[in-house]
Each structure stands twice: as C-alpha cells, then as structure tokens.
Symmetry: none
Subunit: 218 residues, 4 copies
C-alpha cells in the first residue's frame, strides 16, 4: 500500500542458512512474547519479515519449526555456559560458578529461555501427549550426574543420590530463571549467590567451599 519508493528491494535473496537462522530467531522471539499457542506462523513470518509460505518451505511444519527452535536454543545455551566454565575446578566451585553463569543467561538469552519453556509445555503429538519430554533432558542430566559423582569421589560432595541432586540442581536453575522472567527488578547475581549457599550447604561436605561469606559449623 504505502510502498515508499527507494525503500530497498522488496524481495531479497538470502542463502538457505541465513534465512533459516533469521526465521528461527523470529520464532524464539514470537514464542517468548506471545506464548506457544499465540505463536502462529503468520506472526513468525511477520516478525522475520518474510512470507508465510517461506516458513513452511524451510521448516515443513509448525512442529518441526518448534523442535528446531528448541534444539537451536539448547545448543546456544549450552555453548554459552560451557565457554566460561572451568570444569576441572573442584566441584563446589564449578556449581557456584555455573549458577552465576546461569544468572547471566537471563540477560543474554532471555527469549530463548522463555521460548524453550513454552515450547516444551505446548508442543504435543497428534494424540495429545507431550512431544518433548524427559528423554530430551537426559543428556544434560547425565553430564550433571557425572559432575556430582566426581565431587563425591574427590570428597567435596556428600554421598547423596546423584539422580536427585541433578534434578534438584537443574530445577533450582530453572526456578531462578523463571523467577527472573517474572520479576525483572530482582538482583539475580545476589539471588544466585544465595541459591549457591543453600544448595552447597546441603550438598557439600564443607559448605564454605568457594563461598565468600559462609560461616560453616564451627
């Protein structure tokens, strides 16, 4: 309608990889903003600045698009965390550092975090059962169990069930990030430190490990 002259080429041609990346980014933003159900392909296309047909062209179906959006977000988050963690440090220090890094994620990958939660809750198989489930977390939990087991081997963690520890730890991270999403004014670094105090207080043999202001038993 308006179509300002000289406003640039209407139909830019990008490589497949660029378009896919662009559409996935738009998907994450729209899902984070409108929720899973509110994320229609029309809104995704509009956000990406492309036609509806192109989204289907590259991703086949809405479900496939959503699965790819989750996959991509998971990879991005994992890389972001791993890049700044020294996994060879004593386990309590790793845990405390990881919690601080997770707090950073809320600033750097807020949309991905929200979108992932939405898609995991919203995406279903045709029969109504959830499409993304525990199996998709297993890889992450497995890595955490190995970390906790190493802590117990090295004597820095108490001999609690590593399955439970992994679930509790991951749940605490999710809780913190979910809380941050709805309470933008909270000081997340302080939150992370307090959370580390609590968790390490319960998990570590010497709760003062890596903790700046903890008094211990004595």
């Amino acid at each position: 309608m308006s179509d300002p002259p000289g406003a640039g080429p209407r139909r830019r041609r990008l490589s497949e990889a660029e378009r896919r990346e662009q559409i996935l980014r738009a998907t994450v933003e729209v899902v984070a903003r409108y929720g899973y159900d509110g994320a229609s392909l029309g809104r995704v296309a509009e956000q990406a600045g492309v036609s509806k047909g192109l989204v289907s062209h590259y991703f086949g179906s809405k479900d496939d698009l959503m699965v790819e959006a989750v996959t991509g977000s998971v990879r991005a988050l994992r890389e972001s965390i791993a890049a700044q963690l020294d996994l060879s440090a004593p386990v309590p220090e790793v845990i405390r550092a990881a919690l601080r890094r997770a707090a950073d994620l809320h600033r750097t990958h807020r949309a991905e975090l929200t979108a992932m939660a939405q898609i995991v809750h919203g995406l279903r198989l045709p029969d109504g059962s959830p499409r993304l489930g525990p199996a998709d977390y297993e890889e992450t939990h497995e890595a955490q169990r190995r970390l906790f087991a190493r802590g117990q081997d090295e004597g820095s963690l108490r001999p609690l069930d590593v399955h439970v520890l992994a679930v509790v730890y991951q749940g605490a991270v999710d809780t913190m990030l979910g809380h941050a999403a709805t309470h933008p004014d909270v000081d997340l670094d302080r939150f992370a430190d307090t959370l580390a105090d609590v968790l390490l207080g319960g998990m570590a043999v010497d709760p003062t490990d890596g903790a700046p202001g903890r008094s211990g038993c004595g």
Copy 2:
C-alpha cells in the same frame, strides 16, 4: 423424547453447583491429558458428559473456565496440604513434613498439578501477555516467607533472604512434582527426603533437625 424408563444411563438433573463441579473436574482432566491447546471446549463437554452449550452457559468464556479451574485446583491443593501439617512445629520439621506431603500430592492430585502448570503457561490475555503470573503466586509466597521468618526468629533457620528462600523452596517442590510427572517409577518419598536433606542442609542452622539419617558436621 419420551425417555422410556430403563433406556440406558439416564442423565440426572443436577444442581448448578454440581454441574459446575462436574465441568471443572472434566476441564482439569482434559487439560492434564491433552495440554492447554488441546483442551477444546468440545472435549471438555464430552468428558463431562454435557453439551458444549452448557459449558459456555456456566462459565461464559473458555478463559473464564480456565481461570476457575486453576483457582479451584489451587484451593484444593492448599487445603490438602494444610489439613495434615502442624504449622506450630519447629520450622525445619514443618519444611520436611511439607515436602513429604507434596510427594503425596502427586498421587492424590496429579491431574490438578499438571493442569495448573499447563494453564499457567498457556492462558494469555488478548494482547498475548500471560494472564496468570507472579501476582497469583504471591499469596503462597507470602505465607512461606512468614514461615521462614519465624524459623529465623526462633533460631532454627539461617539468616538468608526469605524472598530467595521462598522462591527456592517453592521451585524445589515444583521441580519434584514435575519430575514425578515424567518419571512415574521414581520413589517420590525417598526423593522428598533427600530433597529435605539438601534444602535443610543449606537453610537450617542445625541440619539434623527433624532428619532421620543425617550425620551433621562432626
């Protein structure tokens, strides 16, 4: 038309309150089974054994129905927990007992728990923003903060930020219940005990409070 006697399951004439209860129960079950988006009014009506029109008649809109389903589930859960908790006991004991009670909830109110999570994630305002948010949890968090503050007053809990403690505690409960929903074979009572060990280990002054098998510092 003539409704011959003995012609099958006669539809009883129910009072308004009974009908509403019947429909809300069906809503919870359908949402738990099919997710928020998959819970069409048609499926709810079918599950309740009434006509679609009646659902609208009693609840106005789908959104209103969902809000009532959450409200009712929250009330039911709170009553179920409160009924068996001695809130005047020392706070660490209250926490440990509450975690055990929460584990029971997974057996007695599984559908409500799942449906609540679905509705909270799925229900949105017309502009796309979430309809149920932090404000709806505030009442619960406030009660927990008072509990934790009492624990600090009585000297059984360490002086950590009660806001953080409330969020962490509630998040741990949600995590445990969410984990149970996807891992039906886990021993949830043991999980609750281990979780209590971890949380009280981090929150309590004397981590052995109320704990059966905890060794303490020495």
Copy 3:
C-alpha cells in the same frame, strides 16, 4: 451488507437429516458444474446456503463428503432404474428396457451422473492412489453377470464370457451417458435403441428379440 429487511431468518434450524441432504445435493451440483478439484467446501457451502464450518461439522472431511455424495448418488440411480424394470422378463427385453431407462437418467439425474464420474476420477488416498475403484462397482457387475447368466440359461443369450459382457454393457451405458453430457442436442432415445440393436445383435441368439425394426439373418 445488503441484508434486505424482512428477508427471512438468517439462521434457520433444520434437522440433521435435512441439512445433510441439502449439503449432499449442493455437493453433487457443484462437482458436476466445477469438477472435482473445483468443488471446494466453500463453493459447496455457498451453493447450499450454509457456512463452511457446517459442512465440516456434518461430514468431517472433504473426502468423507465426497464418498457420501457418491454413495447417495449410486443409491438414487439404482433405485430409479430398478423401480421401472421388470427383471422377470426375457433378458434381451430387460437389456433393451434398461438402456432406455438409462437414457432417461440423463434427463432426471444428470448432475449425479457427472458428479460420480468426477469423484471417481478425482478422489484419492493420501498416497495418491485412487480411493474408489473396481471394488465399488463389483456389486453392480455381479447383478449384471447374474442377469446375463440367466439369459444364457434360458437360451436367449449367446454363451459368451459373462464377465466381459457385464463390462461391455456397463461401459456402453457409461459411454452413452457421457456422450449425452457433452452433446445435449443428441436424441438419446434413438441412441439407446441403436445401441440396443448393436449390443443385442452381438449378444443375443435371436437379435430380433424385443427389437422393433431389426431384420435378422434370414
């Protein structure tokens, strides 16, 4: 927009059976007019004077609608033919009479005939293979084979393969009706008589059976 006042109730309520009949009639007309592909549910709804949603409501899917349209048309055609045939007459007379009746069908059931051909050619399974095939004709062919066998028993038909005869006979009927559909000016009764002359000349022992103006061999 125009909405003339007093133009009647916008939303008449009919019984399920009436609506289904009305929609099936519209389907047959639209398919006959626009072909199978051109028969969108929108056009069917418009022709029936109902909303698009109602068509789906009563027939589930477009495929189901089309199958029902064929089924209903077949039944109507069979009843129309059978009602006026004396099947106990000598077989050559039955054949000649049936051809005359078929010619009548072109006047009384033109839309059904055209629509059936369209649907049979157009309706496919998801994998692309035809959905309506020989099995759907089998009942008709079987009845014809019995008729021809009776003719051979009574000595009025020559001992040719009854399977072939049934196919040839039915094909001739279809040919005649298809020809009439595209040549509205042809005298179909004369056509049917000539066709009977040809077919009975080839099938009957005494080709003059039931034929008004045939000279025979002598």
Copy 4:
C-alpha cells in the same frame, strides 16, 4: 560450483526439444500415478530431475503443460495404432484388428492412457467448465465415421447411424482399457476378441467376418 569431474551423475546439457520431451514424459507418469490434482509441478519437476522453474520456463503455465501432455499422448497413441493397421482391408477386419491393437496399447502406453483420462476430467477453464471436450475427440470420431461409412458402402456393415457407431466403438475401446487399468490380471487379448464378437455381431452384415471362432446364424 566447480563441478569436479567424476563427482556423481553429471546433469547433461540438453537441447530444448529433449528437455521438453523429458518434462512431458515426467508429466504423464506423475499424472498417471497421482491423478490430476496430485500432479503438482513440484512432483513433475522432481520426476523429470529438473527444477520447478524450468517447467514453467518451457511450458508457461500448468494448464499449458497439461494440454501439451494430452496432445503428445494422443499423437503417440494414434501413431502407434495406425502404424500396424491395414486400413484398406475390409472394415470388419479393420475393426477386429484395431481392437487387438488397442489391447496392446494397454501394455505399451498404459501411463499415457491413464494420464489422458485424468487430464480430460481434471483440466478446467477458469470459470470451472471443462477445457478439453468433445471438440478434441472430433478428429478421431470423424475418421471412425468415414471408416464405418465405407463399411456400409462396401456392404459389410449394417446401415446404422455412423455417429452412434463411432461413439459406441470408441466407448468400448475406452471401457476395455479402463477395465484393464483396474484389473491387471485380465486376459486382454481374449477380452478384445470377445468384444469384437459382440460389436461385429451387432454391426456387421456377416458377423463371421474376420472372426476366428464364430458360428454365424445357421
């Protein structure tokens, strides 16, 4: 890009005529397999091993492609029949031989036969009316009428309306081929002979003309 030698099945540079032929062949196969509606340009291009753009480039629109596919198939079929028919033989012999040839077509040109029927039924003008109709058969019918008229002149065919004879004959051929398409196990040569017995029995003055096993009147 660089097109390294031996890097797989190199795509040969073809002349325009070769490309067109290749695409038309693919069109016939896809239409025969998936029906008219199921024959998207994408599938045609895939079957032909070319890009979608090229199909449009050579044939303009889908309708034009389909028309050309029919035209080409008609020409191929006519040439195939004519090549092996001695049109100067007595007309009954020509008819019997033509029916045998038609039976061969089912083996040699099955896809063309199926595709033609699909396109004739499916291809429509923008207003919904059929695009291919009687006029497109006229040339064939005209040739057949001349043949039948010659038969009547030479005294071998009875004086029936040649228009009707042409329609009946062509319809019988189509019937036989259609039947063969859905009943792959039928002995088509026997079918053709029986069909010739029936048709010549009705059309010929002396039904034994050219018939191997026919007993005549006596």
